[in-house]
Symmetry: C2
Subunit: 76 residues, 2 copies
């Protein structure tokens, strides 16, 4: 049981992709990134490159920016 933490970013991308009714391959092509990258992104990999993530987010009219940490994370 891996229980990998699903980040809000991962959830965001997956949900947006679903709304567009496209699969990971199509998303990767539209974004100009590799299929493997989209997979890693939706799986919550933490060490991705910002510029590549932004290539994907741009399709949804979004980009990476600093947001307040959710308070449950603040004390560890």
């Amino acid at each position: 049981m891996k229980e990998k933490e699903l980040t809000s970013l991962a959830v965001f991308v997956k949900q947006r992709r679903k709304t567009l009714k496209i699969n990971q391959l199509e998303l990767s092509e539209k974004a100009g990134v590799g299929l493997r990258f989209v997979r890693d992104l939706e799986q919550g990999k933490a060490s991705l490159r910002m510029d590549k993530v932004n290539d994907v987010l741009r399709l949804f009219g979004h980009e990476l920016g600093p947001v307040e940490m959710d308070r449950t994370k603040l004390w560890q």
Copy 2:
């Protein structure tokens, strides 16, 4: 004249650091990243690793997340 675009993330970090009255070296130590990384971050380097950026943002109670693109960027 380089005219490197200063991203909102870069500005955010620099401003927060200033309010804490610490220099780049101190920030890098607190965050557990290299000095060079902090420099690149404040200079707006686009290809940084998300996890390292988050190591810095955590000090300010923030983290990377998807935010709406500012509308001026939407059509190029």
